[in-house]
């Protein structure tokens, strides 16, 4: 794209990008703007997609002949009201960096994904959830105002009252409405520490019951054994605010942040034996009743301790299946899933659960029910692939809702089947992207 007559400094180059789950990689053009005029420099009709840290499990920020706009140069803090708890920040700032700024000043972002390098813009575009979506909602709940760069229209300021439809479409809009450049976020007061109570559960239905009973906890998620013999047994982590305790020491430095890309180990560690060993160790470590004090940053960024876990998937990578099953259908779903796992014995390296109590907006992952997330090793292997398909069919049969931003195995027909009003939602988004200039591999795969 760079021509000989083009001034240098437009910061456009080519590089190979891959999704975090390693299921998709492509040589693409990347622009790395760090100044506003560089945002204006690309021709308005050039296909593009905004990119944050590139830590989405799926290929949401590249592909489909679009220029990826790497927004990490826009990472400046613009305004902070320590009295009211409002922060205006550029979209390329990482969640980890923002929390590092806020925590010593008595504030924090209560909704944060597990990866500290995820950017503010990415969190808005994916409408991510945090450690207890039932209590805190999804990321859009924090956004008071945002600024969007729309090719040909320039910078637009949006909030729930001004250009409300475009604001709503942008939150969870997967970057299709334009490039988010900044946002004003509503902060919360952090607990001094987290008192983490672990409640052992016998199966997924038991876990769902505990999740519902602890809906107001700051941290709330379940870990379950995904092996057929003990399927669903595990522990629900209930993190309550503890403002009396002396918080445990915790290294908050950027050096601890999980890297955006991890070199895979040469072989997949998560074969049947590796999964069995890991589950046995986790069971011994976690499935004992009791209470432990946890530093808030440790609760916010559990993935910082997961470098070897992700590297262990090897070059074949992983796939994350994440579906939200409505409460009335969850028990039946859990039983059917246990039966399916017993029959097919997939390699599930991680199985976790969360409680949701929101309202589904657009294509975002929200609603009322229990979300299950499964990490499967070597997803291209026929048996694993077959399980992914059966899992999707089970979830569909129980009125499940998939998480688009997590699941590389999801296809357009499954998504349409999962969302009865898919076409209405797609058109609502397409209204702001009529010529399809904002696009990615994700939007191609799901026919958005």
């Amino acid at each position: 794209m760079a021509t000989s007559a083009e001034p240098r400094g437009l910061a456009v180059g080519e590089m190979r990008l891959a999704s975090f789950d390693r299921q998709f990689a492509q040589q693409v053009r990347v622009q790395r703007p760090d100044r506003y005029r560089l945002l204006d420099a690309l021709p308005a009709d050039m296909p593009r997609i905004a990119r944050g840290a590139g830590v989405s499990y799926v290929a949401a920020s590249f592909g489909n002949e679009a220029v990826s706009l790497d927004m990490r140069g826009f990472q400046r803090l613009l305004a902070f009201d320590i009295r009211t708890g409002l922060l205006c920040v550029e979209a390329g700032a990482s969640i980890g960096d923002v929390q590092r700024f806020l925590l010593p000043r008595g504030w924090y972002l209560p909704i944060a994904p597990g990866h500290p390098r995820a950017t503010i813009g990415g969190c808005i575009a994916a409408d991510v959830h945090g450690k207890n979506p039932a209590r805190d909602g999804t990321f859009r709940a924090l956004v008071e105002e945002l600024q969007l760069h729309v090719p040909g229209r320039g910078l637009l300021s949006l909030d729930p009252h001004h250009d409300a439809d475009l604001f709503a479409a942008t939150c969870g809009g997967l970057g299709l409405t334009g490039t988010i450049t900044r946002a004003t976020l509503r902060l919360a007061r952090p607990p001094r520490a987290i008192a983490l109570r672990r409640v052992a559960v016998a199966n997924l239905a038991d876990g769902a019951r505990v999740l519902r009973e602890a809906a107001n906890a700051h941290v709330l998620y379940g870990w379950h054994d995904g092996q057929a013999a003990r399927f669903g047994s595990g522990v629900i982590n209930v993190g309550l605010a503890d403002d009396e305790a002396e918080p445990p020491r915790f290294d908050l430095s950027p050096a601890r942040d999980l890297p955006a890309t991890l070199a895979p180990l040469p072989l997949t560690v998560w074969n049947a034996r590796g999964i069995a060993l890991a589950n046995r160790w986790l069971r011994r470590r976690w499935c004992q009743p009791g209470m432990t004090a946890l530093a808030l940053p440790a609760a916010l960024f559990p993935l910082n301790d997961a470098r070897w876990y992700f590297a262990g998937y090897g070059k074949a990578g992983l796939v994350e299946l994440q579906w939200l099953i409505p409460h009335p259908r969850f028990e039946a779903f859990a039983a059917a899933l246990a039966e399916c796992v017993a029959r097919t014995r997939p390699r599930i390296a991680l199985l976790s659960s969360k409680l949701f109590d929101g309202r589904a907006q657009g294509l975002a992952f929200d609603g009322k029910g229990i979300a299950l997330a499964l990490h499967l090793a070597a997803p291209a292997a026929p048996a694993q692939h077959a399980f992914c398909e059966q899992f999707a069919q089970l979830a569909l049969a129980h009125e499940g809702r998939p998480n688009l931003i997590k699941d590389s195995s999801l296809d357009a027909s499954t998504l349409r089947a999962a969302l009865p009003d898919f076409e209405v939602r797609r058109l609502a988004l397409a209204r702001y992207n009529a010529d399809g200039r904002c696009r990615s591999e994700l939007t191609r795969r799901l026919a958005l």
Binding site: R8, R35, R37, L78
Partner: protein
């Protein structure tokens, strides 16, 4: 005491502004776009609680940038450091540029530093301050590309010598860094012989040496060897390297 960073919104200038603010330095930041300057100033004020003033200035068109900077300095403490990490290069800087385009390159890479130094020299002499110029490995040897850019950067070498010759040691510190490939917008997407250096890695050293003598050196230091090799090539061999 105020440090002035010209070209502060991007690359090395931004890294230097951040490092200076981290050390509590009062700053005057100069760049072409007020939107970038306001964002950077807000960020530095919030993170480091320092006083930051800004001046939006198009160095390619501004007739007297020194006067504008002097005016902006009126409300600030006296200047002690002037850092000029400013530069523009073009892919078509190969004898095909129009006079206007060549003029813009020279204005930004040479005229602006010269004019700004001229205007601020009396104040910097008073504070026994530091002027920091930034050359380029591209000026090590002339070639058919980066023609005006390299000529301007080599002229900065002469300007550096002139400043040092005109001032007694200690009366004014004049420092010149001949930069190798840095990971900035100027190099992003280019096929480089080796990895470019993150400006944030070299900024602390530059700031640490402010007020500590006059010198010219390559940065990163390994580029001294690269420059030596380039200059040692016999002419017939150098000519054969043209593309």
């Amino acid at each position: 005491m105020t440090a002035i960073v010209v070209g502060a919104s991007s690359g090395l200038g931004r890294a230097l502004a951040d490092e200076l603010a981290r050390r509590g330095q009062v700053l005057l930041l100069v760049a072409s776009d007020a939107r970038d300057l306001h964002a950077l100033a807000a960020d530095l004020q919030l993170r480091h609680e320092v006083e930051v003033a800004t001046l939006a200035l198009d160095l390619g068109r501004e007739v007297d940038p020194g006067a504008r900077i002097l005016a902006a300095l009126a409300a600030l403490p006296p200047p002690t450091s002037l850092l000029l990490p400013v530069g523009l290069s073009r892919r078509d800087d190969d004898f095909t540029l129009s006079a206007g385009a060549s003029g813009e390159l020279l204005a930004i890479n040479l005229h602006a530093p010269l004019a700004i130094i001229g205007a601020l020299l009396p104040s910097l002499r008073e504070t026994r301050g530091t002027i920091v110029l930034f050359g380029s490995i591209a000026a090590a040897r002339g070639r058919g590309q980066n023609v005006a850019y390299a000529a301007a950067k080599r002229a900065l070498e002469s300007l550096h010598e002139s400043l040092r010759q005109a001032h007694a040691p200690g009366a004014l510190h004049v420092q010149l860094y001949r930069l190798g490939f840095l990971a900035t917008n100027l190099t992003f997407g280019m096929a480089l012989p080796w990895a470019a250096t993150d400006p944030a890695r070299i900024a602390p050293g530059i700031v640490r040496r402010l007020g500590k003598g006059s010198f010219a050196r390559h940065l990163p230091r390994r580029y001294a060897l690269v420059a030596l090799l380039l200059r040692s090539l016999p002419w017939f061999a150098w000519r054969r390297l043209r593309r």
